[in-house]
């Protein structure tokens, strides 16, 4: 039998019709996650063509992008600040009721960021094909699923047929060996990877992250890595499932139970790249040489070690435009640069271990004066778990804000924004111009680096505050 990569095994298992020179494959989708921003026009298409949601049992909706993180707005004690967002939330309620789709709405205790709740509920499983109208769907690849973002027209295709037309992507292995040093997180690793291969380095490819440094990561860390695959341009990122994966999933409400669980695990153990299987391209990284990373520019590939300095590319007008937007000079160090906002949240870094790491840095300390620090858990379940551990108290005592779950300041659709000209150290995934609000200047980093910046009021090497 031919040796196959993890990607090839999952892909081939889902080909309803294989691709030909003239036609793309028809790929079966096991799980379709839906949210309020990229679905309304797809439901309209179904209505126009008099179509149903074909497999409501494979469709799960939640609301996260434009939802408030303020408890009073959620409870309806005060109106939702952004009116159009409130309408979009209502529209999703209406669409899910009309089409019979399970919805974790604003008042559900299971609600959260779509890429946090899929795994949390055990709906995300090894070997599945998972899509969502959201580019960070790559997150679910941490479980050995083939998971990728799609547009709204394709959301309509999956709602109506449970299938997608897809050309088979190429494969890219990113091998990370060695041991990540203390204070270096999964976020630093993925930022270093994007810095190395570039923001278009993964275009047309599915990444498989491999090697001892990847195997040593928790599921939270693996999700952080896979989450940002799209920031390297990749269609998806995958990690072979192992005991860490199975341990995470066992007993979760949508995971198989009893005998079905044992059968599933036996199958999932085969979801590994066979020895001798060929990738279209391989990249090698020594994890033991990494340090905490931070971005300085307007895409995630513009990244340096925390103690590094901003590069100089005087003949590159686009590069210089980016630095001008960021208000930075070539050769400048970011360490000790004053910042105004810290955001700890997003589908990249708002899971319990991320919050624990930030709390470890902030415990018993105060947020620097003049700094706004916003901590937004990835889901309501994570919020409850964090509160059981007393993390909320650590953040509140430090002077940070502790919010309800949602995408919040990563995308700023709900009014949680960074003001023009302000610097924000953010645990999110995109530092594009205006991403966190018109004129906002984002420095992407790990939860430890973000928490350290909140305490010192400036860019800080988190290793100074981590014991």
């Amino acid at each position: 039998m031919t040796a196959k990569t993890l990607f090839e095994k999952v892909w081939e298992r889902h080909e309803v019709v294989a691709e030909t020179a003239d036609t793309p494959a028809i790929l079966y989708i096991d799980l379709h996650l839906v949210h309020e921003v990229t679905s309304p026009q797809a439901f309209s298409l179904l209505r126009e063509q008099n179509l149903k949601v074909r497999r409501t049992d494979r469709t799960l909706a939640t609301m996260d992008h434009s939802t408030p993180t303020d408890a009073a707005e959620i409870a309806g004690r005060v109106p939702i600040k952004v009116k159009s967002a409130a309408q979009q939330i209502q529209q999703l309620e209406k669409n899910c009721t009309e089409f019979g789709v399970e919805l974790l709405n604003l008042h559900s205790s299971q609600r959260g960021i779509v890429h946090v709740i899929g795994p949390e509920l055990g709906a995300t499983q090894p070997g599945k094909t998972i899509v969502c109208g959201d580019s960070h769907t790559a997150t679910h690849g941490a479980f050995g699923a083939l998971a990728f973002g799609i547009g709204t027209t394709e959301v309509g295709h999956v709602l109506a047929t449970q299938c997608l037309l897809q050309r088979r992507p190429k494969t890219l292995a990113i091998n990370v060996n060695g041991k990540l040093p203390a204070g270096v997180t999964a976020k630093d690793l993925i930022l270093a990877i994007i810095g190395k291969i570039g923001v278009a380095g993964g275009t047309g490819q599915v990444i498989e992250y491999r090697g001892s440094a990847i195997e040593a990561l928790s599921m939270d860390g693996r999700m952080t890595v896979c989450n940002m695959s799209i920031e390297a341009g990749a269609r998806a990122g995958m990690i072979a499932p192992d005991d860490v994966t199975f341990e995470y999933l066992k007993g979760r409400p949508k995971a198989p139970q009893g005998a079905a669980w044992d059968k599933a695990v036996a199958e999932w153990r085969n979801l590994r790249t066979d020895s001798g299987a060929k990738f279209d391209r391989e990249v090698h990284i020594n994890g033991s040489e990494l340090v905490p990373m931070i971005t300085y520019g307007t895409h995630p590939g513009m990244v340096i070690p925390i103690n590094g300095s901003v590069p100089n590319q005087p003949n590159d007008a686009v590069f210089m435009k980016s630095l001008a937007y960021m208000g930075l000079q070539p050769g400048e160090q970011l360490l000790n640069k004053p910042i105004q906002v810290v955001f700890i949240g997003s589908c990249t870094n708002a899971r319990l271990s991320d919050l624990e790491l930030a709390a470890q840095v902030m415990k018993g300390k105060r947020v620097a004066s003049g700094v706004r620090a916003l901590v937004v858990p990835g889901s309501q379940a994570i919020k409850r778990d964090a509160e059981k551990l007393g993390l909320d108290k650590i953040f509140l005592d430090a002077g940070a804000e502790w919010r309800e779950s949602g995408c919040s300041m990563c995308i700023g659709m709900n009014g949680d924004t960074v003001a023009s000209g302000q610097y924000a150290v953010s645990t999110s995934n995109r530092n594009f111009e205006g991403r966190q609000g018109a004129g906002s200047r984002t420095l992407l980093a790990s939860p430890a680096t973000a928490a350290a910046a909140a305490i010192r009021g400036c860019v800080t090497d988190p290793r100074e505050l981590l014991n």
């Binding site: 003239d22 079966y28 063509q49 309408q87 580019s135 047929t161 275009t203 799209i230 995308i411 018109a438």
Partner: protein, 191 residues
């Protein structure tokens, strides 16, 4: 969808690489539940001042850009989010094709489904187009070629099935729906 065969227009050049979908259409305009009316917000952060007035030095606000249907941009156009609002906004602005040396996967897929041609060409011809804004181009989807005013003909490739759908006005959803029996058989075999 109406079939697309030829596009003849002057170009507008946006001389930046890695133009992400947050620039094409900022997230604050994504709370809409419709596909229409997004053109006024395209490139909003580059196009308007904080008070809403137009920035006169931005190319799309200049008379030369009016009526142009072909956008030429730097490498890796459309990176970032999966928002289909990006091609909807560009189409609403009157664009029917984007030319670059590399176009991000999801943006390319979204564009093809809406009749916005994502055209990738070689570096030399791209450099020429970037440094000669406003030239008249003819894009011929039937021959996969682009005619430059200097007489050069540049070929490009668009995924075959998407091209077939564009040339013939075929709806991809209709194509998948025709395979429903095969899909049902697949489900039974994998239940």
């Amino acid at each position: 969808m109406e079939p697309i065969r030829k596009i003849s227009s002057k170009t507008v050049v946006l001389p930046y690489s890695d133009i992400d979908t947050d620039q094409i259409i900022p997230a604050r305009f994504l709370t809409t539940t419709s596909k229409t009316g997004l053109g006024q917000h395209a490139f909003s952060n580059w196009r308007y001042n904080a008070d809403g007035s137009a920035k006169s030095d931005f190319i799309l606000n200049q008379p030369a850009a009016q009526g142009c249907q072909i956008l030429v941009a730097g490498n890796n156009f459309g990176c970032g989010s999966s928002r289909e609002h990006a091609p909807w906004a560009l189409l609403d602005c009157g664009f029917r094709a984007v030319i670059s040396t590399e176009i991000a996967d999801i943006f390319r897929s979204n564009s093809l489904k809406n009749g916005l041609l994502p055209i990738v060409i070689d570096k030399d011809n791209h450099t020429w187009l970037m440094s000669n804004p406003g030239v008249q181009l003819e894009i011929n989807l039937e021959t996969n070629s682009l005619s430059l005013p200097n007489g050069k003909v540049v070929t490009f490739s668009i995924e075959g099935f998407a091209r077939y759908c564009l040339l013939n006005g075929v709806d991809e959803l209709g194509y998948i729906l025709k395979q429903l029996d095969t899909i049902k058989q697949f489900e039974q075999a994998h239940a």
